[in-house]
Symmetry: C2
Subunit: 205 residues, 2 copies
């Protein structure tokens, strides 16, 4: 469970190897100094490449940020979709979704911070595409909460507001999570699954 | 309830007027481009002043960030302390604290984002001072939760973890809150007060 295997997994779909190294370098640079204070030269240097070599893979710095945002948002959305197993009750599905979403934001907190805090630096079309993925993420959580309300398992006076709060609670783990801290990503996921079931008024049978 | 009166109030204690204008300009610049991509020249320009005039009030760019962080953290802490009225039950106090804390993070979302996301840019001593204020903020919420557990009003299996979650939920309002959105700061505060009472296992009498 070291950092390296996770990071490899995080960007496994980015090929070839040079493109993946550039993404990893860009995440580190953006996290350290912010998007606007980072140059493509900084990123290429961190990846041990020339600025010219960077442009073979990414047209612009914004292109790199877009790629990072797409991979990050898709990974988080896929996790939520995998929690949608048929035949399970809404409470189990919501708890599984929260566990997985929290674990992702804790393990990949550096990527998650870049993705969340630098949204405004994306170009108009790229921004619109990311907003679309965020709406799908929102819809996944909302659907589970609605199922639980329909089945009588949950009591939620304000479903859209509660959906925003649940997602916000999980996403903000990326801000405060400390890999050297007292709690593991799994422990935070477990705590949060319980808190979210309380937020939706679930009563354990 | 326009933006201007609020902003004046936010920095009312920063004097003289030129120092206040510089703080306002710095918050806007840091929020737009990040701390590291902003120069003191940018900040002075936004405030309609010369770079030399800036140095009369702040020795460095870091000094400005520190001042913004101190004012922001103290304002949030003061709000929580004001909610600690004697003679009120823990549920009322916790709900009041959440309402006030959420409203502050919604109304001052630009300042709150700068304060939260640029912590790492503070010098060592300044960082330590801010961490101290954050511990005091944490202690305010934890004390109310502990009071509620002691009185039997709340049922909380993990008080430190739940304290982190409650603060995180409120702070993250600054990330997603949109002044042009559907909900006012007061409405989000009301929704969140209810959600937090559920998180601490409060049952309405």
């Amino acid at each position: 469970m070291g950092a390296e295997p996770k990071r490899t997994e995080e960007w496994a779909d980015v090929t070839p190897d040079a493109a993946r190294r550039l993404v990893t370098a860009a995440v580190a640079a953006f996290a350290e100094r912010g998007y606007h204070a980072t140059t493509t030269r900084d990123i290429a240097g961190r990846a041990g490449m020339s600025p010219a070599a960077l442009y073979i893979h990414y047209r612009t710095k914004e292109d790199l940020l877009y790629r990072i945002s797409i991979v990050g948002h898709r990974a988080a959305l896929d996790l939520l979709r995998r929690a949608r197993r048929p035949g399970t009750d809404p409470a189990t599905r919501l708890a599984d979704a929260v566990r997985a979403f929290v674990r992702w934001h804790a393990e990949h907190h550096t990527t998650a911070r870049v993705v969340q805090y630098e949204l405004g630096a994306l170009g108009e079309e790229h921004y619109a595409e990311i907003v679309g993925l965020r709406r799908e993420t929102d819809a996944e959580i909302r659907a589970v909460i609605e199922d639980g309300v329909a089945s009588g398992d949950f009591a939620v006076p304000d479903v859209p507001g509660t959906t925003v709060a649940v997602l916000s609670l999980c996403i903000d783990v990326a801000r405060w999570f400390n890999a050297e801290g007292k709690r593991t990503p799994d422990e935070v996921g477990e705590l949060y699954a319980g808190l979210v079931l309380r937020m939706v008024g679930h009563r354990a049978p």
